[in-house]
């Protein structure tokens, strides 16, 4: 077993999936010879050849549309968008075709493709490289949306995404690509695509988050522990569908909840979770549910990007507000 990073978990899962299923192909800009701009596909073209690890022309709409076409004809394309901002032209094919293929043909055709891309800010990248568009995708019927936050979940969730018979958007929080190393066994074990992960048990408050915000949320939980406050931390991981039961069950025990997301606040995934708690969790809540989010602004250029994102301080601020209510 090797200690690997999140991005190495991605690479390991890609290699595993390509090994076990000949219909899996990887395509995208710079994924072949260069191994991807973050090296997520490093070594794959050397190992599997240029017919299975395909450098595409610079054409995002084409990457998405061709993947839809390949998936409907017996292949399993795993397409890479180089950055989250470059998925916008792909949305036509994801929303209007990938997510509808099975339904519109009454099951005659299906679209088992994966679109994976780095998401979120915090790496001093240029404009359009740092957004968090998960809510856009989570709003689309017929697709699944996944965001891992650890090397082992990157591995297990990507394997599940590739094996899934329907389209999956797999978003990689690039700020934590190399944050942690973890022992990950290349055992081919997939993780479920509809289950939250409880990263830390607690009894006083539930902190719900996903992606790179897991880092700040765990740090906040550490600081709370030092003050004698026990915070449960849940990594939602699958943003569509969301395992609300785990969240509601946790809040039923703690009575308090803060949701942390990097994406803008308005109509975000945090809003959906809060709305669900207002319905199924209302009688166990001792305090209002708070959301700590990115602002409803354009993601600033990198000098201010960390001011945009929820900080440990902002998380603790919200936690204190929620704990003050008796």
């Amino acid at each position: 077993m090797a200690k690997i990073t999140l991005i190495e978990g991605v690479t390991l899962a890609l290699a595993r999936a390509m090994e076990e299923d000949q219909s899996v192909v990887v395509l995208g800009e710079d994924v072949g010879v260069n191994g991807g701009v973050f090296r997520a596909t490093a070594g794959l073209q050397q190992r599997f050849g240029d017919e299975r690890v395909i450098d595409t022309p610079l054409a995002e709409v084409m990457i998405a549309g061709v993947s839809v076409g390949m998936a409907s004809q017996g292949m399993k394309p795993v397409a890479e968008a180089q950055f989250c901002g470059f998925t916008m032209p792909m949305i036509d094919h994801i929303m209007c075709h990938a997510g509808r293929m099975r339904n519109r043909t009454r099951g005659r055709l299906s679209c088992p493709m994966v679109l994976r891309f780095p998401t979120g800010g915090g790496i001093h990248a240029p404009e359009h490289h740092s957004e968090s568009p998960e809510a856009l995708f989570a709003h689309m019927p017929g697709i699944r949306v996944v965001m891992p936050s650890s090397p082992s979940r990157a591995y297990g969730l990507l394997l599940a995404a590739i094996r899934d018979p329907d389209p999956v958007i797999y978003m990689e929080p690039k700020r934590i690509y190399r944050w942690q190393r973890e022992d990950v066994e290349d055992d081919g074990e997939a993780l479920p695509l509809d289950v939250c992960f409880t990263l830390r048990d607690g009894k006083d408050i539930t902190l719900v988050t996903w992606g790179a915000m897991v880092k700040e949320t765990l740090q906040a939980a550490d600081q709370l522990e030092a003050k004698g406050i026990s915070a449960e931390v849940i990594d939602v991981a699958t943003l569509s569908p969301i395992d609300m039961d785990t969240i509601v069950e946790s809040v039923a025990r703690t009575g308090r909840c803060v949701i942390v997301q990097e994406a803008p606040k308005h109509c975000g995934v945090a809003s959906e979770i809060a709305a669900h708690l207002a319905d199924a969790g209302i009688w166990s809540l001792h305090a209002p549910v708070k959301r700590v989010c990115g602002y409803d602004t354009v993601m600033p250029l990198y000098r201010n990007e960390m001011k945009y994102m929820p900080s440990v301080r902002r998380i603790l601020h919200a936690v204190n507000q929620v704990l003050e209510v008796s």
């Binding site: 595409t56 076409g69 390949m70 004809q73 339904n103 043909t105 017929g142 569908p241």
Partner: protein
């Protein structure tokens, strides 16, 4: 000093004149003498037109939703179907019924789709063909993807996609050309240039002399044919499909025709185009010229024409009856909107499905 580093030309092919005479008796493709085949295709073109008339009538009497007519495109459409093999893959837009009927899609399935029932897309014809595609030109990339799949799997199959003059302005079309060129895909892209994208004429799409030359710009052999001449359409399609099947890469064919109908039944073309233009286009339409040719050659006559017309009206009535029976007597249950969303319905949709079942009386057909 400048030197020419690239030059190109676009050839236009026509064999059959609007009067039903061959333009040059000495230079015609073999199919021009295959009267059994031409007669069969003429029959299908006639059936397609009869179907079209019936579909418009069903819409006008409130029995069908918005419908996109294929009137005037019969030669282009039927030639596409006729040039393909069963295992090839068609990625249509939404009015190429002639191609689909040839491939085995049922008339009642077309009616189901425009009649608001997803079962229409569950073709009994080639099960791997793509569904009707409303987002313009996106189908070109799906066909490129299908072609990519066949190439990677070493299958001798060809993908064919159809786009309009309007659709040729979209990036998807151009990106499909580009991908097909980069990867030498077994793909045939057919531009059916019917001169009108709803109310916008061909002249307003761009100032290029032909649309075929967009393929040349991307590195693909590209030609233009008279889209009202079945012989030219079929000759070009067969040439392109067999080249693609032989591993020679992709091909672009621009078929020049005319949309004799409104864009759809929801459109009124009198608002934006002169009747004289439509009258002139009727002089060029594809059925009349093929019929004249076949009669001249002794392969067709009035009696056969009358028999065919009565047969066609019987077939289209049967299709309409079958469609009406399905929607009236065997409608999809409310839960059908959930049941094909995913291979395994996620838990939240299982809940919504159960919830929806509590309100079966809501929102009946209006």
């Amino acid at each position: 000093m400048a030197r020419t580093v690239a030059a190109f030309k676009v050839d236009h092919f026509q064999f059959l004149g609007a009067d039903g005479k061959l333009l040059d008796e000495q230079h015609v493709p073999a199919v021009a003498r295959d009267f059994d085949r031409l007669t069969d295709l003429y029959r299908l073109m006639t059936l397609t037109r009869a179907f079209d008339k019936k579909a418009v009538a069903l819409q006008r009497t409130g029995k069908l939703g918005t419908y996109a007519s294929s009137l005037g495109h019969e030669a282009a459409h039927v030639s596409i179907g006729a040039a393909m093999q069963e295992e090839d893959c068609l990625a249509p837009m939404y009015r190429e019924y002639g191609a689909q009927f040839y491939r085995g899609v049922k008339m009642s399935e077309v009616l189901l789709y425009w009649g608001g029932d997803e079962r229409g897309n569950d073709f009994s014809g080639p099960r791997h063909d793509f569904a009707w595609c409303v987002p313009i030109a996106t189908q070109c990339l799906h066909a490129a993807g299908a072609a990519m799949a066949y190439k990677l799997k070493n299958e001798a199959r060809v993908a064919v996609s159809i786009v309009g003059d309007g659709g040729s302005s979209k990036g998807d079309f151009l990106e499909a050309i580009n991908a097909a060129s980069a990867w030498k895909l077994p793909l045939v892209l057919v531009i059916i240039n019917n001169q009108w994208a709803i109310s916008v004429p061909r002249s307003k799409q761009n100032s290029a002399t032909t649309l075929a030359q967009k393929g040349i710009a991307g590195g693909l052999p590209s030609i233009q044919v008279d889209g009202n001449d079945l012989i030219a359409c079929l000759w070009a399609m067969e040439k392109a499909v067999s080249a693609a099947r032989a591993g020679k890469g992709a091909f672009v064919i621009e078929m020049l025709t005319y949309r004799l109908s409104d864009h759809t039944t929801a459109d009124d073309a009198r608002r934006y185009r002169p009747q004289e233009e439509v009258d002139e286009a009727w002089e060029q339409e594809p059925l009349k010229r093929l019929r004249s040719y076949l009669i001249d050659q002794g392969a067709w006559d009035d009696q056969r024409e009358q028999e065919l017309l009565s047969e066609c009206s019987q077939f289209v009535q049967q299709a309409a009856d079958e469609y009406m029976d399905l929607v009236q007597n065997k409608p999809q249950p409310l839960t059908a909107m959930f049941d094909y969303m995913y291979a395994d319905l996620p838990h939240d949709l299982v809940e919504q499905r159960a919830y929806a079942e509590q309100f079966p009386e809501d929102g009946g057909h209006h």
